[in-house]
């Protein structure tokens, strides 16, 4: 494989058998989405007055935001702290974050009963500074804008110097070239502000997604319900940001027949055990303070889920990444990153769904197949769009040579 990349690298075609399967899943998701907008939430979801939030909020939104944290974490490491040698992971992480947040917004839109009123959050007369959700909404909206601005240079790079409009439009080629040049220069001037702004906005809403469930008080199981939930959400977002960069980079290398960037990723992975330790310490101090260890051995679904979260999400990746030889091994690196991601995803689902117990329950919530189809469809679309941009825009360095 090494030889292929160094000698003559040929970009793979967009469609492969795997991509066809993903396209099929995306189509089923889009059809379910259509049904949702034509026949309403009741027709496609199992949501009720006991469980007003299902997997669209728990997975598409809560997990989506956490998993898109790679964008601001690489910005922090590469641009702000000026860590060297991380350049190759910046753009892939940025692409993931941009796509991730776009679909978080779409996920919210799908879930809202009156989605056409979503713009209300921008109107001062509706502003509700007491609401953690208001803060999340404003931050996600602002951060999405910031992400698009951060993404613009990739678009500019793609077309700069090769604007080639067909037929009649040819006369505008010069105009667009000049426009791109001006855009390029001005973006470089202001980008610093947007990069820092992106990190600040991320810290704000990553944590507020935790505050959100503090207000649900006794409905969230004591194993997860804590006033420091915002801190725990922020810390776990830091960890999973790095894990996502490693995970997606290794998958992309395989998918695009590139040499995996084990060296960069291994350096990046050194942060994970440190952050995991901080995260775990915060969790343990909180547990001891609130004496919630009594719930650890109750053999309930909650306690089992909590243990899986701790063992697979924290203990295993921590152990693996403590050893340099494993950090330099592609397979171990991938395993560790995947288990961190699994742990954080499970944590969000635990806080938003499994640990959420209404006071009076007629029937427990399990997502309808159409709810699952929409979620899977959105994830499939993210993968397809990632592939499209990676193949057609200057995102992955090795593919450009």
């Amino acid at each position: 494989m090494n030889n292929i990349t160094t000698l003559s690298y040929e970009k793979p075609r967009f469609f492969t058998p795997g991509v066809w399967v993903i396209t099929l899943l995306a189509s089923v998701g889009l059809l379910s989405l259509l049904v949702r907008f034509i026949f309403g939430l009741g027709a496609v979801t199992n949501l009720d007055n006991q469980y007003p939030w299902g997997i669209w909020i728990a997975v598409d939104v809560a997990c989506g935001v956490a998993l898109a944290a790679g964008g601001f974490m690489t910005a922090l490491i590469a641009h702000i702290v000026h860590g060297k040698g991380y350049k190759s992971v910046i753009r892939p992480a940025l692409l993931t974050a941009t796509l991730g947040y776009t679909f978080v917004a779409l996920g919210v839109l799908t879930d809202l009963g009156r989605y056409y009123n979503m713009w209300h959050i921008l109107l001062p007369k509706y502003w509700s500074p007491n609401s953690a959700l208001f803060e999340v909404g404003m931050c996600v909206a602002s951060y999405l804008t910031v992400l698009y601005i951060e993404f613009l240079p990739i678009v500019v790079d793609r077309f700069k110097g090769r604007v080639n409009l067909p037929g009649m439009l040819k006369t505008f080629n010069g105009f667009f070239e000049r426009f791109l040049k001006i855009l390029d220069v001005s973006l470089k001037k202001v980008m610093t502000i947007f990069i820092i702004l992106g990190v600040v906005l991320s810290c704000m809403h990553q944590s507020s997604l935790g505050t959100l469930m503090v207000l649900a008080s006794v409905k969230v199981h004591p194993l997860w319900q804590t006033p420091i939930l915002p801190l725990l959400f922020l810390l776990s977002a830091f960890v999973v940001g790095f894990a996502m960069v490693i995970f997606e980079s290794l998958i992309a290398s395989k998918s695009f027949n590139l040499k995996p960037e084990v060296k960069v990723l291994s350096r990046l992975s050194r942060f994970i055990p440190i952050l995991l330790l901080i995260y775990l310490t915060a969790k343990l101090i909180d547990m001891v303070t609130r004496e919630t260890y009594v719930y650890l051995f109750t053999a309930s679904l909650d306690s089992i889920m909590y243990w899986i979260e701790i063992i697979i999400g924290i203990a295993i990746p921590f152990t693996i990444l403590m050893f340099e030889k494993y950090r330099n091994n592609q397979t171990w690196l991938f395993t560790a990153a995947a288990s961190v991601i699994f742990g954080v995803v499970l944590n969000r689902i635990n806080v938003y769904l499994i640990g959420f117990t209404p006071l009076y329950v007629d029937k427990p919530y399990f997502p309808a197949w159409t709810e699952i189809a929409v979620t899977v469809g959105f994830i499939s679309l993210i993968i397809l769009l990632y592939r499209f941009f990676a193949l057609n825009f200057p995102v992955i360095e090795d593919m450009e040579n």
């Binding site: 009156r114 959050i121 609401s131 505050t211 006794v218």
Partner: protein
């Protein structure tokens, strides 16, 4: 479980207090409430389970209704019911362990909290606490996120999932139009044949409740449910049986809204937190860049 949960609530309350203290901020710019705001006192020992209140509520709020006679059917008591988007109030029946061995009936509806978590939760201010007591809902502002339903400590607001374009959050309005705008009684109170529910100024009702307990200490549990729960509610109950045995949740005296609002305002007051972080990152960026150039 109940006791452990209460312990947990205590810690939450303590944490809330500490946070509020640390941030030295007012927990919330609490809605300014009228001192003579309204409330309802429900004396469960007076209730005969006739469910006329359900009928009157449906009438007053244009909800689907049935003839009044059909409400004497007690077979509905076999199952515990909850309010729905087409029924703002329901009466549930519990075996009365008291002297006469009858039934103890509990009318369930929005409690109209003094510091309502749903109002604190609402992203667009569609839910508001009226200074005179009711928690009101403005459908035209609502975006339909249903966060209010997530946060309600009494699990009251319901949603019209089956509606395609204009679903609403539905719950008891405390008959705002009748009571505050037309000086009438709430429909349920007006129809009640035994004065099991009485409408009045909240502070006075609290006095009435304690007076009744004092006069009949053997009959009543010495607890006015709703006087302090989640910071107090407009709707309050008297009972001759422990409240946790007849479907009432055990709740802390603090509104969960106090805790989250002190977290939010502690971090974001005047944007001090974000601005500090922004400056800090800016400085780090400058310093590191200089170092890089020097190398």
């Amino acid at each position: 479980m109940g006791i452990e949960r209460r312990e947990f609530l205590k810690t939450l309350a303590i944490a809330s207090g500490t946070l509020a203290g640390v941030s030295s901020l007012k927990a919330s710019d609490k809605a300014k409430l009228n001192p003579d705001r309204f409330g309802v006192l429900s004396d469960l020992t007076y209730c005969i389970g006739c469910r006329k209140c359900e009928w009157a509520c449906n009438e007053a709020n244009d909800l689907p209704n049935q003839p009044l006679d059909s409400f004497s059917d007690t077979s509905v008591f076999e199952q515990m019911r909850r309010p729905t988007s087409e029924k703002y109030t329901v009466v549930n029946s519990y075996a009365d362990k008291g002297l006469d061995g009858g039934a103890l009936n509990v009318k369930v509806q929005c409690m109209h909290c003094e510091n309502p978590p749903c109002v604190s939760a609402c992203i667009v201010g569609a839910l508001r606490k009226h200074p005179d007591g009711p928690v009101t809902y403005n459908a035209s502002a609502c975006i339909g996120c249903r966060y209010c339903i997530i946060t309600c400590p009494f699990q009251i607001p319901t949603y019209e999932y089956e509606k395609v374009l204009t679903p609403q959050v539905r719950k008891c309005t405390l008959c705002l139009e009748r009571t505050i705008e037309n000086e009438q009684l709430p429909a349920c109170v007006e129809v009640c044949p035994t004065e099991a529910i009485i409408f009045g100024h909240r502070e006075e009702l609290i006095d009435v409740a304690h007076e009744r307990i004092k006069k009949n200490p053997d009959k009543y549990i010495d607890h006015v449910y709703g006087e302090h729960e989640v910071g107090g509610t407009s709707w309050m109950y008297l009972s001759n049986q422990p409240f946790n045995e007849i479907g009432f949740p055990e709740l802390s005296d603090n509104s969960p809204a106090e805790l989250t609002e002190s977290i939010q305002h502690g971090i974001f007051k005047g944007f001090s937190g974000p601005i500090m972080l922004f400056s800090l990152l800016g400085i780090i960026m400058k310093v590191m860049k200089k170092e890089e150039e020097n190398e």
